[in-house]
């Protein structure tokens, strides 16, 4: 007597359960790859020097040492560096938005002579690495007497090819009907950008803002090159100064410095993640 096996609702939900468990396991494994280095950095920042190089390595310190943060903070001028990091990254972002959004509008929504050529030039800016343009810009700022000023750290970054490209692309995706409808309602250019295009390009704007902020927050090379005094330097240089060249490195203090460096970015990301998700699911025409 062969029994016919009919998959009942129980069996189906068991299969579904196994499926979602597997999916969860894979997700946990992938996120562990990303989270673990940060976790290691966090716990190392509370260890003693001996514990940082013990073999076999241990994740957690025997006793937590918050004084590592004090050591890092007192080495050099961390309050100044922190202020400069915030000030410079935000200033760059503000300047970029002022330049990038109107430029993206012009390229995406207006017809004018030489548009293709100019857009090509913008794309060239995207393709030429910073190392190639560094020296001419350095010499230019030196001639202007602006080395070692905030201007040297902000002005060269005030436009972004990447931003113009990304935002122009998303402006292009706004349906023409919507733009025409707005024009029929006598919306001016400014209103059109601010009220119609920008809200609809929210994902691109937020992505660009985060990319820009993180890139300039982390920037080491440009800041180090353009500055010669501590008063206008930023956190990444402060962290690099914690390294003891040729001697045993104080990994616990370096990691405490790194935590100070990445904590604001992690916080911004956590706060913004809700908006990023809604921004990414936003679309113009349903």
């Amino acid at each position: 007597m062969a029994e016919r096996i009919i998959p009942g609702p129980g069996a189906r939900s068991a299969a579904r359960l196994a499926g979602s468990a597997l999916r969860a396991a894979i997700l946990v494994a992938i996120s562990a790859v990303f989270v673990f280095p940060f976790l290691w950095m966090l716990t190392t920042s509370f260890k003693t020097l001996g514990e940082t190089i013990v073999f076999p390595p241990r994740l957690l310190p025997e006793s937590w040492k918050p004084e590592n943060y004090e050591l890092a903070w007192k080495n050099g001028r961390f309050p100044t560096y922190l202020f400069n990091s915030v000030f410079i990254s935000l200033s760059i972002l503000a300047c970029q938005l002022v330049v990038v959004v109107p430029a993206a509008y012009a390229f995406a929504c207006r017809a004018f002579a030489g548009k293709k050529l100019l857009f090509g030039l913008v794309l060239c800016g995207l393709m030429i690495p910073g190392q190639a343009t560094f020296l001419p810009i350095y010499l230019l700022f030196s001639e202007l007497g602006l080395i070692d000023t905030y201007a040297a750290l902000i002005a060269p970054m005030a436009a972004s090819s990447f931003g113009i490209f990304l935002i122009a692309q998303s402006f292009r995706q706004v349906p023409l009907e919507i733009i025409e409808a707005a024009r029929l309602d006598k919306a001016g250019t400014f209103k059109l950008i601010a009220r119609i295009l920008m809200p609809m390009a929210k994902p691109a704007l937020i992505t660009f803002a985060l990319f820009s902020f993180i890139a300039h927050w982390n920037d080491y090379f440009w800041t180090l090159s353009m500055t010669t005094s501590d008063a206008i330097r930023t956190l990444p240089i402060g962290v690099a100064m914690l390294k003891n060249v040729e001697n045993v490195k104080s990994w616990h203090v370096i990691m405490a410095g790194n935590m100070i460096l990445v904590a604001p970015i992690l916080a911004i990301y956590l706060l913004a993640s809700k908006y990023i998700k809604t921004a990414f699911t936003y679309s113009g025409v349903k």
Binding site: L224, I232, N244
Partner: protein, 447 residues
């Protein structure tokens, strides 16, 4: 009605925020241009500058605890007199610092005093960027420096670089492990002993190696010198190491790797050094070579775990070592008054107490013979005789190549050497010839 007010409110906020961004940007542009960090009343550390003092810029390239030692000395100098004021700023590691200096020289906003890794002295010296310090220091004052540390100080017979934070590579040994293996805890004396020691100290099951050395130009130069060879021809135009000991040191390393006695630390530049240092502390390796500048940190870490010893680099045909660390140089473009002031600062750093203080603080060698005699240094040597090894080894110091672009050439040499460490089928002769050809190609492209 409600809809309408909501829309108006939103419109107003949008307009407001855009206006705010524009205003902020405009304000920044103005503030940025006006806000020069260089002001004349106080320097970047907030210290007051005495009226009428000659202000000189000093760029340094060592961070962490060693960098703190530099800052302490600068503060002391500024407090000790009112004619010269030194503004010291960290400019990244040796290589970032040198790159910045190159850019600054082109842009004519260079500082007055710089810290040059000794192989960089040639790069800037032969481009006539460095001032002749002999004009501002007497023969006696220059003669106070240890002779072994002056090998990378002269360009065309002119004294252009004063020793400051100086080191040699040394052999660090875990004496406890050597004793347990029935070996002389003083360490191996020559290459043959190094090989037998390494083999005996290795333990494959436990993952312990006898010996570890970063595949770095410093240790390769040491190997060539120990075979009585030269890296460069006398005129500095041809690399000659392949036939002069270059193949021999590669052969020794390959033999030791084959026998399971030697570990090659992974990573570039100082990262490989860090691996070697932590392997010694965690007793994964019994002997390793890095700079004497790591001594203070290693002594502290080894305490309570094992007995740490130091020894000369084992001899090939002869004992030999390159030296390392950095020299201080004054730039030719500075005016005469600044040069004079810079020389006064350098003399202050080289005075007996200050040189002794810096050596004790960091683990670098005392740069003058009188500083070696200082009470604090003698007390240090009797407490930790390991500090004396580098000093005694100085009698075997040899000159490192001093040519333009040497850093780029060493990168090429290191690449070829590393290949031969991971692929043992490459013969030592072939590896040395390849390294020499790669370095020569860079040299020819510069000439």
């Amino acid at each position: 009605m409600g809809m309408r007010t909501e829309a108006m409110r939103r419109r107003r906020t949008t307009r407001l925020s855009i206006a705010a961004i524009a205003a902020l940007a405009a304000a920044l542009a103005l503030a940025g241009c006006g806000n020069r960090a260089k002001d004349t009343q106080s320097d970047s550390s907030g210290a007051a500058i005495p009226k009428g003092a000659t202000v000189i810029d000093f760029w340094y390239a060592i961070g962490g605890r060693n960098g703190e030692g530099v800052v302490k000395l600068v503060d002391e100098f500024n407090a000790s007199q009112s004619k010269v004021h030194v503004k010291a700023t960290y400019q990244g590691d040796y290589y970032a610092h040198a790159t910045k200096l190159q850019a600054a020289l082109v842009a004519k906003n260079q500082p007055d005093v710089v810290m040059l890794e000794i192989a960089q002295v040639g790069q800037f010296g032969y481009s006539k960027a460095l001032a002749d310090l002999g004009k501002y220091m007497t023969k006696d004052e220059i003669g106070k420096f240890q002779e072994g540390l002056l090998k990378n100080s002269y360009i065309d017979g002119k004294f252009v670089a004063a020793p400051f934070n100086r080191s040699t590579p040394i052999l660090y040994v875990n004496k406890t492990m050597l004793k347990e293996a029935g070996l002389d805890p003083a360490g191996p004396k020559d290459w043959n002993e190094l090989r037998t020691y390494a083999k005996k100290l290795s333990n494959k099951e436990k993952g312990v190696y006898g010996f570890e050395v970063p595949i770095d130009i410093w240790f390769f130069e040491a190997g060539v010198f120990q075979k009585n060879g030269k890296i460069l021809s006398e005129d500095g135009k041809k690399f000659v190491f392949a036939e002069e000991g270059g193949a021999e040191i590669v052969r020794l390393w390959q033999q030791m790797i084959r026998e399971g006695g030697m570990k090659v630390p992974p990573g570039q530049d100082y990262n490989a050094w860090d691996v070697a240092a932590s392997d010694l502390i965690t007793q994964k390796v019994a002997m390793m070579m890095i700079s004497t500048a790591s001594l203070s940190g290693l002594i502290a870490q080894a305490e309570g775990k094992f007995e740490l010893g130091t020894a000369f680099l084992p001899a090939g045909e002869i004992f030999a070592t390159p030296t390392g660390g950095a020299n201080l140089a004054v730039l030719e473009k500075s005016d005469a008054k600044s040069k004079q002031a810079a020389a006064a600062f350098i003399k202050f750093l080289a005075s007996k107490d200050k040189a002794a203080f810096f050596s004790e603080w960091t683990g670098y060698m005392p740069v003058t013979t009188e500083a070696v005699q200082a009470e604090s240094i003698q007390a240090l040597y009797s407490k930790h005789p390991q500090y004396k090894t580098a000093l005694d080894q100085l009698q075997y110091a040899q000159t490192r190549p001093m040519i333009k672009g040497y850093r780029e050439m060493t990168v090429k040499i290191q690449e070829e050497l590393k290949k031969a460490m991971y692929d043992l089928s490459i013969s030592p002769e072939e590896a040395a010839r390849n390294a020499q050809a790669a370095a020569q190609a860079v040299l020819d492209s510069i000439e």
